[in-house]
Structure formats: C-alpha cells, structure tokens
Symmetry: D2
C-alpha cells in the first residue's frame, strides 16, 4: 500500500516541477485553485481523515492547516473561502513541501501496521489525490494560459490527432446493466453505485470525437451566431461572456492558434476539439443534426471505441442512482451533495490517472465549464 | 373550436377581475410578469402565429405590439427585455383589453373557415393561454403578497387539507412505458413525446403529500441549520437569501402565518406544504430518511393516488426523451431550448387548467423556484 | 398660510393630471420614485411632523402609512426600501388622493390656530413638497420616456431657445460674501447657511448656457471617444453605460431627436443642452478650452445673467459651509447627511418652484445624474 | 542626479527584502497592487518616459513590458486590467529585478549627459517611485494582513504613541495664501499649483491626532450603531461591509488587537488611530462634537503642530486650484483626471518619503479607503 501511496504523492510533485514559486499562488478564476493549495489540501486529507484518528501520538505539522486547507467539508469546521485561496501566500511553497514530507513519513509508519480501515481510507486518499492531479493540470494550464507571455510548461497533456475513422456504432434496444456495486476488490466511488438496470432505445455513437476541423467548420458557418442551435441559457452565456471559439483559441496574424502547455501553437485540425462548454457541445451537435449521448448509452457502448483522450460531455444530469445512499459524516460530503445542476462526463482525459479509467466512472461539471479537458462525442 | 377559444379567453379576464389597474403593472422579481403583460402576450400569440399568416386583410391592432409583447421567441424579432416588463405602463390596461377583443373578433371570423392548420394552432394557443393563466395566478399572488398591506384577492386557489392517509404505495421493478406519442386526437406538448420504455427498480411513493405539520417539525428540528441535509448549492442558496421557512410564511405575534390570496392566515397544519424550492424539498426528504421520486416513478404510479393540488418536485432533470425532435421555426422555441438545468414537476395544481391534467405532463422550473404552487411527495 | 399650503398641494395634483393610473406605479431606475409615492410621501411629511405632534385628537388616515411613505428618515423608524417603491401597488391611486385630502382638511383646521412652530414647520413642508414637485416632473418624464411608445404628456417643461448672446462676464478678484444666515423673514435651507466670506480670483462666466448646437459639435468632433477630455471615472462611466449622447437623445432616420414631454421631437439647436452628467459637462468644457464654475463664482456673478431654465453643474463638491450645524432629530437628516460625494448645482430649472429661485440655493446630485433638468455654464 | 536616483531605487528593493517570492504575487483587493508589479511599473516609467525617447540606441528589456506594466496611462496604449494584476505570475520576481537593473544601468549612462529635460523627468520619476514606495508598504501590510497566519515583516512603519498634548490651536479669520507655484527650485506636483489666496473664517485645530483610546471610547459608546452620526453613504458602507472597528482590528480572547507589520499586537491606547475611512473619521468627529478640517485650514495651521505620522483626512474634495492647467499628453494623466469624488488628505505618514513632506502636498483617496496609513485630526 505504501508503495502505491508514495508513487501517487511523488507524481503530484512531478507535475509541479516546471513551475516557478510565483506560479503556485494565484487563482485567476473561481474554478481554479492555486497549485500550492492542491499540494497542501491533498496532504490535509491524509492528515485529518487518517493520521489524526489512527496514528497514536501523531503531531500535527501546523495547527492552522486544518483551517487553511479544508476544501468543502462542513463537517471538518470552518475554512478559507474558496474565492480567497489565491491570496494565501503563506505558508510558502517550501513549507508546503515540508508539510507533505512530514505527512508522508507518518503515513509510512502508520501503513506498516496494515490496519484494514486505514488501508481503505488510504486508498480513498490516493484516489482523491489522483483527482486533484488532474485538476492541478487544468489549473496550471489556466494560470499559465492567463499570462500575456504564454509561457512554456512542457510538451505534455496535449491530445494527439484522432486515428479512428468516424463510424457510427449501433446498439440495439434492450435492458442493460450499468454502474457497479461497491466492493472490496475494485475501488469505485459511491456515485457509481449500485449496479442497476436501465432500458435503452436503439442508438448509435460515433467512434471518433469531433475534431478541430469539424468545429472550425461550425464556427465558419456562423454556429455562434445562430440562436436556433442553442439552449436559451447557452445563448445568454455566449453573449454575456462574448464567446465565439473554444477557450484558449486566439487568432494570431489571421490564423487560429491555441494556448497549449507548450505555448501558443496553430490548431491541429485532426485532433479532437477541447475546452468547450456543454452549451457549445450541444449547439455543435444540433448543427450537425445529431445529439449528445446519455451517460448510460456511453457506458454500454464504451467497449466499442477508444476513449481516454478527453472527458466526453453527456446529456445526463448528475443525479443519484436508484438506491444510492451517501456515507455519513464528512466523507458523505464527497459526492452526494453536488448532485444537482451539473452534467455527467464519461471517459477520461490525457490528464486522468489510469486508476480512474473505467467505464462506470462519473465525472461531473457545470454546463459552463471550459477549463477542463473535455470534448464532444456524437450520438444518434 | 371558437367556443373553447372564447371560454379560455374569458377565464383569463375572470382571473384578473379582482385587480385594480395599479396591480397590473409591476414585476417585483424577474420570474413574475405583470398581469397586463400576460393579457397582451397571450393575445399577441394568436395575432402573430395565426391571424397574421392566415387571416386575409387582417389589420394589426398596433404595429408596436409585436415588439412589446414577444416573450422569448428569437425568431419573432427583438423584444422588450424580460426584466423591463414592469416599467411598461403603456399601453394602459383598457387598451390591452381592447386589443384582446379586437383579436377575439378576428379569431371568431377566422375560425368559421375551419382551416385545419388554423385549428391546430388555435389549440396550441389555447393551451399556451391556459399555461399563462396559471402563471398569472402565481404572479398575482406574488404581487399582492409583496404589499406590506397583505390585500385580499378572494378566497381562492388555496389547497385544502389532505384527506388521504399517508400510505406507501409500492410498485414492482420492470420495464414500463412512459410519455405519449403526439397525435391528432389528444393534445400534448412535444416534450412529452415520444412514448418510450424505461426500466424502473422497485420503489414506493407516499400517497399523501408532505403536510405543513410535518414541515413545521422539520423547521423546529433545525432542518434549516443542518448542512448535512442539503445540497451544497441549496445550502448556499438558503444562506445567501436568508431563507428559513417557505415563501409567504411569517410569524405574527409568535404564530406562523402565511400570505394567501385571502390575506394573511394561520398555517393550516393538515394542508400540504407549498412554495418551497427543490432544495428545500430535497432537504426535507433527506431529513425524513426518504427521497424525491423520479419523473418516471411518478408517472407510473400516478393512477394510485390523488394528485392535482400542487405540482410535485421530482428529482429528474428536464431533458429530452429518446428520439425527441424540436419543431422548426419559432414554435420550436416552445420547449426544447429550456432543456437544461431545470427540474421536472409532475401532477398539477389548483391553479392548473383541467386541460393540462394528465400523467404525462412535464412542468419544469429551476431548483430555486418558490413562487409556483409546488409541494413535496416522498419516495423510497 | 393655508392659502399658500393649499396652492402648493393643488399644484402637485395638477402636475399628475395627465397621467393614467398605471403611470403612477413603476420605478424604472433607483433615482426615480413612482408618482403615487411622491403624492403620499409629501402628505406623510405633514402628517408625521405636524399633525401627529400638534393637532389634538388627530386620527391617522392609516397606521401603515408611516412605514410605507417614509423616504430616508432613520429617526422616523423602518421603511420600505428605496428600490422597492415600484412594487407597491397598494394603496391605489384613489386612496392616495383620499389620504391627501384627509390631511389637507386636518391641516386647514390646525393652521387656523396660527401656532408659530406649526407655521414654521408648514413652511418647511411646503418647500419640501415643492422640491418633490420638481422631482415628480423628472420622474414622469423618465417613466414616460422609458415607454417604447414615447407617449405625450403635454407641451410643457421644455426649455426655450436661448436668447442671450454668448458673452464673457468678468468679475475681479476679491473677498465676497456668499450664503445666507437663516432668519424668520426669508425661508432658506440650513445648507445655505451661514453667510460667510470667500476669496475669489479673477474669473469670467459665459452669459449663455451651452447650446445643443455646440454640444452636437462636441459629439461630431468625437468628444465621446477622446479619453484625454474625461475624468478617469467619467471615461469608465460612459464606457460601461455605453453613453454617446445626452439622455433621451436618439437618432430617428438619421436625425437626432430627443424625447420631450410632448413626445419625440427633433433637437432644437439653439436651446440649451440638457440631461447630461457632470462627467459630460466637464468633458465638454475641457474640449471647449474652458471649465465649469465653482458654486461661489456662480453665486457672485448670478446677478449678471438670466438663469432658471436648467440647473447648472458647478465643479464644487457639496460640503458644509464654515460653522454649519445640522438640526437635531429627524429634520437634521434633511441635508447634512448627504454632504459627501455629490456636486452642487446652482440656479434652477423650468420645473423649479419660484420659491426655490434664489442665488444662494444649493441643489446637489451625484456626478452621474442625467435625468434631472441640468445644463452647462462655462467659466474661465 | 544619479545618486538620488539610485538611492530611491535601492530603497524600493530594501522595502521588499523581507518578502518571500510568493508574497510578490497576489492582489487581495482592487486597491492593492502586487509588490512585483510596483517594482516593474516604476521601472517602466523610467523606460517609457525617459530611456525610449532620450537614450539613443536604447534596447527595450522586453517588448511586452509596455503592455504589462502600464498603470493607467491611456496615452501609452492598452494595458493589463487593473483587477487582473494578481494573476500575472510571469515575469517572475527574479526577472523583474533584472529589468530594474537593466534600466538602472541605462539611466546611469543617460544621466551622465546631464540633459535638462531628462533631469526634470528623472526627478518626476523619482517622486513617482517614492509615491509607489508608500503604496508598496500599504500593499505589503494588506497582503500579509490577509494571511490567517499573521506573518511578521519586521518592527517597522508603526506610529509611535502621541507625545503632544491635546491643545486647540486657534487661527484668526483672514485672507491666506495656499499652494505653490511650480518652479525649478523645489519640486511640487501640478495639483499643488498655483499659489492662490483663500479666505478662512476663525478656526482651531487640535494639536494631537485622535488616539486609539478615544476611538475605543467611540466604539464602546456604540458609535457604529448610531445612524445620526453618519453620512447616509457612510451608514450604508458600514452596514453592507459589516464594519464595526478600524481595518486590521480583531478581538483575541476578548482583547482588541491589531495586525501590525510585526504580527498581531494589542492596541496601543496612546498611539493615534489609523486605518479608518473618511466616513468613520467624520462620524467620530460628529460624536466628539467637532469636525474635520478643510485642506486650507490644515495648510495654514501646519506650522503649529507636528505631523507626518499619518495622513490626515480633510473634509475637502479633491478639486483643481483656480487657474490649474493639466499637462498635455501622458503626463497630463498624472493628477487631473482623478479630480472628482475623492477627498484630500494632508500631512504624511511614517511610510512617506521625506521628499513628499511639505505643507502644500495634496494626497487623495476615496472616502471608503482604509488600507492607507490615515488618521484623524479634529477642527472646530
């Protein structure tokens, strides 16, 4: 268990290696958290939920960190307001790394005892940190992408050109099983549970994600100007935010470029389009004469195509499965309380930990979300 | 057809009869439209969609009304901004009634021709006006309820005490059919279509709606102060709006009262609770150890209990049915473009036209909506 | 005294005569109060400050009106929030008129007693109502001017074409006396007091107000696009409100028109420009190579030119005179608590009561104010 | 000249020495600029206004910096929005220091030529940087004071206990000269010019600033709860911002403390109160039965008492002197365009450069400003 633990912990630090101390600080929009905060919060999770209750004589690294690095757990006491994270310059980055290593040492000691409940919580903590690794990558891209200087992080986390051809995969109507029932052998989140039956009508999914080439065509055919393609909310959203292209796109000398972690680069026409809101995904599908899949269509068809390059918007709202029960106490705040007004994304992205790649995994974001690594799969 | 038409038109005017001219004007929150506006907008619908295209030599009552009384149809041109409706004092109420009667006369003339397409559109216009009748009642209640003087409209539109006992009705798992396929014999909206199959796990619904007595218990057990009962969004919503009881509730000399269309009255303990948001409905269900039904559970069980006193929140997002296609042109803006971020309510209220009482009917509002006549049915 | 009282009261009603009941209700921006509110509030002033304390056995017209029609007097208890006035449909207009006549009858009775303190307060109440008459005219114009239909009120309250030629009147430097000391013979507000000395450097004022012709030249020379002419705040103000002409100006078929109380009319080139903010007045003066006068320059020179068509922006902040003391209690809230962040206007407008026409009178508004009848006088 | 230049430049860096790289980044409220930004912007000023036009073959350190570090000069092109400064992590701190030294080397070279215009502009640049030094100290205090950990910067910039006794110094009425006329011998800003006469009535100023002891008494006598003491705006301001004590005050275990650059410390009762808005200063004066001085009263009496510990709020609006002309071009944006809605402060603080300590100096802030080092002098 410790091996897996420390591998995850090291990867988080690896992701931050190209950063300057200054890059660890800001929060240029509310969805973004400062890298320093991710480093500390994931550590806080192990400290508060595992070391404090289970390691005898554990000495807190710093009394104040419980307040500073709680994310949203009301049961764990008051916390720094989410939109204030970018103002916390202290503790500085070096101290945050010390904090991490202090907790790692204590976890090493505790994990030797091989306590069953500790192991289970550690597994949850590892998955939690892996989720934050992905957010960390989104946030680093957003922070660096907000710089007028378009700095280089490294040639990483950029989807490759799609190699699959654009076929329609058809699935016959019937009763199917979706979800998983939580068990000790394979980790899953409570929101994927329980396994249950759904009835699906005939449908087809396209094997290939929508490409930049196709999306550019949508732009050039004035897709952003035709209200008939949009949800009422989506139309207001693009008007009031003056949106007419995916996030990070900009025209440089008349040519479409996008900010990548490697700096500004010309659009790769055959790569899948990314950084679009659900509103844009739905408008594109409407223009195309198609639609977005539901999360269950996606899950049933997932064995038929390659996925994992970008999270794929579904037209399913994020709601509990029949029989879902949220855990009691602080861990019950993990998933259940967000089950309203968000939409499910399925699949996974190039920034997703392999441990999170399973057909039953339910990611979720608000429809306006663009900074995540998300794309469009079409259904019919 | 004209008989049905004129009956609906007269009912709208009947609803407004207790109002003073001043009451027709304001818009005390964005969801509310001024009564004057409802009177004119429903008339505009007949004029623009039926008289202009189908009645030869029809003379517009006033050229500017197309601009003044369009609600949200982008295809019908520009319009007064929704949040500006309460500033329109002109045309005055008397002119709006003249406008209604001008259009009624023309409709009478046109309907004599018994044109099939006209009849179909007229039926849609009647249903449209019936929907507005219900909104009109909500809006009148909100306008009068905003007066510090709590004026009397009349002893109307107040749910009676529940007479059903609180039983749990159980339904076995299976594949069920929901929805209707649009046809010429029975009117339905496009969002109810097509009829399709769903798989439902075992479930039970409570025959009786949640009563004021039960809801009061929730309040007294500090339900509004226990964050573990709430969605994250719901918790923020009640905090930032300082909500600790249903809309219209107020303590007068230590006793809970509510504004009714008959003035302020003490809470009727055995009547169903109303004017609560989805957030509150969900928190109540959580506290009760229960949950809200899905829209399909509701539809399948609807034959087993009495309904129609209050719209019932479901935990289903308002999304298209498999195979749903929105109409082209302006009428396609009727339903489809709202299919995001709203929740379905099923049933009907004491303010609902009987023509809208069917098990397949899908009403929809944002989770924060409280001014509608909505209540809570529990599921398990 | 009663004669003067009733004359003022009647004039207020006279001003409202062209209105429809609906026009009495809305509040299309926060500066505006509904005409109904003005009618009631001025009545409340007499009731609360005079009848209640001085008329034995006076019976309140309605207990709730103290709450409903208080404007900003913290000492008089809680009140309807300023931005909620447009939602009060009750009491209806007819009741408000009854309220007025109830109070008028009681005042008639009380004034017969010829009590000194009552007379003094009545004089203040008359001046208070006269101030509201002017605001009422601004508000009626704004309410009617917000209608897409541009309704006609009557050919009134429109400044005539300037007949004075544009001369520069020079005043030599020296110590001058400004203000008045409050006394029993001539009414004045506490903010005009006490009379005191100021030193003025040489200056000159232009006899003629800036005309529409001149202002149009400013527009056509891109005055609204040249940031060097503007205060930093003014520049932001016109950008974020998308202002490029005076309030009520609009181009109809390529020609500049303005909404007047007589409907939309072409700009009168030789009439003084009105409905401009202090920001615009200052930018115009900068463009002209001139400046705005101080309030003392204005007061000293006021005998040399005609004024009273439009309030004239000065570049003096609204601050207390040396030795100014505000009254204690509710009447102390009349002027003193507003002495920050506003600017003084001098003179008077075509909507100003003659009783308010004196060289020492200090009107005041925020720099962004445009709905008042204000204009530009230049200084050097 | 270079000696003076480099001394100023070094002092700026000295002020930043106790900071960690992370502290240079954030902007926790809009008034605050990141320390990194101050370091770069003051350098940009020399580069853009002096090196670019006057040093032959000068090579820009980085082309993009003109855009990145312009503050508010519309004439110098577009710029990063003021409220976005805290998101700029690049260039990092080290590069900003390189930028400074690059410009310093070029300035050394240029200043050797002893060009008259260059010398004059350099003097302005030095004064500009000295102003930013003071803001830098405010901003550092605010950034560190926003940390829940209350970090220590050093025992600096904290006013000492007042040693003067609280006497009233009286000045007789008369015509006085205020301001200075710009000249080559003593530097002054254009807003202090020209020297001119004013008439002052008899007045007295208190020799001692208001102390924490006195202010605490105001708090304990419920000064923050008595609306009669406050401007209407001030009352709204403290309500909506929930203000009931000076900025940085907090109760720790029942005792009033304040954040100082040395960490949280108990209030020093005999030190002058600081970090209060003009609204609070005026309410305190009202409660005390006194008032704030005008800027001219202050200037005339300034020889009679010690000052320079805190900037002193006056009740004078920041407006141009008679005959004031703003410079043309970008440097004309220095002062004139801010002359509206702000109030003058006189004197100077412990964070003010000695070169800015003169009786004619006009500092100015909005009435709500609390993060500056400001205090209260009473007048009568």
């Amino acid at each position: 268990m410790f091996e897996n633990y420390i591998k995850t912990r090291n990867l988080t630090e690896e992701i931050c290696r190209p950063l300057q101390p200054e890059d660890y600080v800001p929060q240029p929009m509310e969805d973004v958290s400062p890298p320093k905060w991710h480093l500390a919060h994931t550590t806080w999770f192990f400290e508060q939920f595992i070391l404090v209750p289970y390691l005898e004589n554990y000495k807190l690294f710093d009394d104040q960190f419980a307040y500073l690095f709680n994310s949203y757990y009301n049961n764990m006491g008051t916390r720094v307001e989410r939109n204030q994270r970018g103002f916390m310059t202290r503790p500085v980055v070096d101290i945050v790394y010390e904090y991490r290593h202090h907790v790692d040492a204590a976890m090493q000691q505790l994990l030797k005892l091989n306590n069953n409940q500790v192991n289970k919580l550690t597994e949850l903590g590892i998955h939690h940190e892996q989720q934050h690794q992905e957010l960390l990558i989104y946030d680093i891209k957003y922070i660096l992408g907000s710089q007028p200087t378009a700095p280089v992080y490294g040639n990483k986390f950029q989807p490759e050109q799609e190699k699959q051809s654009a076929e329609w995969l058809t699935i016959p109507e019937g009763v199917y099983e979706v979800g998983v029932t939580e068990n000790d052998h394979h980790f899953s989140y409570d929101n994927e549970s329980p396994k249950h039956k759904v009835f699906l009508s005939d449908f087809s999914l396209r094997s290939q994600l929508v490409t930049n080439r196709e999306y550019l065509e949508f732009i050039e055919h004035k897709g952003y100007e035709n209200f008939n393609l949009w949800h009422e909310e989506g139309w207001k959203y693009i008007q009031s935010n003056q949106i007419s292209a995916p996030l990070y796109w900009k025209k440089i000398n008349g040519t479409w470029h996008t900010y990548t972690l490697n700096g500004n680069e010309p659009i790769q026409l055959d790569a899948p389009v990314q950084h679009i809101s659900l509103y844009e995904a739905a408008a594109f599908a409407e223009w195309y004469g198609s639609r977005l899949p539901t999360e269950f269509e996606w899950e049933i068809a997932a064995g038929r195509f390659h996925w994992g390059t970008l999270w794929e918007w579904t037209n399913s709202a994020y709601l509990p499965y029949p029989g879902y029960k949220k855990a009691s106490g602080a861990l019950g705040e993990y998933n259940g309380k967000f089950m309203i007004n968000q939409h499910v994304l399925r699949g996974g992205s190039i920034a997703t930990s392999p441990a999170h790649s399973r057909a039953s995994y339910r990611n979720f974001f608000y429809p306006a979300t663009r900074w995540a690594f998300n794309g469009i799969r079409l259904a019919n």
